[in-house]
Symmetry: C2
Subunit: 338 residues, 2 copies
């Protein structure tokens, strides 16, 4: 039995988490779930980092957190709970996988262009350090920093992962032609690490050119590693290619703690109605299962999901509008029965 921490999050979080856990339970996985209090609703109770001390302790002792979406509290100087969590636990690599899913129509699936891209994004540095000030009333300055050890750990992770999955290609996206020192450092580390993986096909593409290529020939890419903000932008671009954040799983990987999460919003307008799409959270769950070595069960449930989607079953937010949509629970049951 592996014990993992589970945080429902806000908005639609509790319902999609319940749906995903019901699938995991039906598969009789050797997993125990310990629910922790974390989210905007916890922030509202006066916990400035969005979690209770007990939650933090549990997560730190278990090392794995499975989390639903969390709302960013409003207000100047207030940080996003998601970003705070990434920093608190030094989850230096953000991994997002984007795959063509049969049953989820996009212009690319219709054009017959298959997508299978993994974005590995540095998760701590860059302007996400939040070091900004006003020089004068009229001039704002932000410091962007890139470090060698910070770049090293995420790039090593990306190569190791690419090797394990037998990636066709690993690409560094960057803007080192303009940010010659910062992105230059990241790129230098990339090629340094690449030397240790002669079996992998490593190259680099300037980030603007990368985006141009991703929207016309996404099938040419496999694993792409980038600095934080560029990785943020390219991740969402790729999510758009496969149908949106509802189909984009995310894992924040650190040496001691890893977080598996849905990165879409909390959809307060439909919260509590049992109509939300649990797919992104379920896909994140597969990452979690594989992370703790449960390959077989993960593949089994993934096949059930793919079969479910392919057979035209869908929630209200996607799929063939002329066929009735299922609610969250019924969608989970369809996956279970498959």
């Amino acid at each position: 039995m592996t014990k993992i921490a589970v945080a429902n999050g806000d908005g639609i979080g509790p319902e999609i988490m319940a749906a995903v856990l019901s699938i995991f339970k039906a598969a009789e996985l050797p997993l125990e779930f310990e629910f922790v209090d974390m989210g905007k609703w916890v922030f509202d109770k006066g916990y400035s980092n969005g979690m209770t001390p007990e939650a933090q302790q549990t997560i730190e002792s278990l090392g794995i957190l499975f989390k639903g979406p969390m709302e960013t509290p409003k207000g100047k100087g207030v940080k996003s709970i998601n970003v705070t969590a990434r920093k608190t636990w030094n989850t230096y690599a953000n991994k997002r996988t984007f795959q063509t899913l049969h049953g989820v129509d996009t212009v690319f699936s219709k054009a017959g262009i298959p997508i299978d891209i993994t974005i590995v994004r540095e998760n701590i540095e860059d302007t996400y350090g939040g070091i900004e000030h006003m020089l004068t009333h009229d001039v704002a300055l932000s410091r962007r920093f890139i470090t060698r050890p910070g770049s090293m750990q995420v790039i090593k992770y990306a190569f190791e992962m690419a090797k394990k999955k037998g990636a066709r290609r690993i690409t560094c996206g960057h803007k080192a032609n303009i940010m010659k020192l910062t992105d230059g450092l990241f790129l230098e580390v990339f090629y340094e690490v690449a030397k240790e993986y002669p079996e992998l096909n490593a190259d680099d593409v300037i980030v603007d050119d990368l985006c141009m290529k991703l929207v016309s020939r996404p099938d040419l890419f496999d694993t792409v590693v980038l600095t934080n903000l560029q990785g943020d932008i390219v991740s969402d671009l790729c999510a758009g290619l496969v149908g949106g954040l509802g189909f984009a799983p995310s894992a924040n990987i650190g040496d001691h703690i890893s977080i598996f999460e849905a990165v879409h919003g909390t959809a307060p307008d439909i919260a509590g109605k049992n109509i939300a799409n649990p797919t992104a959270l379920l896909l994140s769950g597969f990452n979690l299962l594989r992370h703790i070595g449960l390959m077989e069960p993960s593949n089994m449930i993934e096949n059930a999901l793919l079969y479910t989607l392919e057979s035209g079953v869908h929630t209200g937010d996607f799929g063939d509008k002329s066929t009735p949509s299922l609610n969250t629970t019924a969608f989970a049951e369809a996956v279970i029965s498959n």
Copy 2:
């Protein structure tokens, strides 16, 4: 007669410029062309900013430069000639228009999703200031600055342009949820200027979300204004949506000097072979003609180009591969005869 400065640039520059000017001459435009020496080939002669003093003087006295692509010289500390030109003449707004062109197949044109997007990118500030240093061997720092007057001039330009063309919507792309002061300032100025244009539908979208939306519903956007690097990335993304940089015109607008250019590369591998595609430079030329008030002739030549593309005429880099492609000169002649 309006006199404009013309720089062929490097690689395929001379041939595509000759093609475009032959079209302009055939249309008997009231234009005189003064050729100036600018490009990597001039840099190689020892002019560190890539132009002769005479070229600089001519451009500054005429106020309008029509330029082919220019290669960025290699070497540490060496700046791109294009970026240097933008700074030297404070061309603070970079305007790029992206339109579905019949005859240029993309996944979006095939899906019947029409695109007509104008990106207005701030052209001077941001990390393009190039203020970087190594704090230690392992830590690189880059300063990103956004100023109120710098934001004001480009945003005012964007609103003025959007008003003139009767835009459906004007959107500010930004990452003010993370870069609260720098992008926050840009966003604040955006809504300040928006108040003066109550007739325009102004809104903002976080840049990662914007990219996700652009690759699924590009038809929902019209004019988008962004800071420099984000604008660089989003511009290329949009170029990809309509077929690549070969179909993406660019104008760098300043108060005294404006530059109209093709932003694609110099394609050294095909230079001198008379097979390059002059479309992007020709589209940039339309921007130039409109800028100096030649609306009618510009529309006339644009119709000829659109008709040419629609009728299936193409150079080797695009179009129906089963029909023969034309060389650069013949493509220009096809436009002229239409």
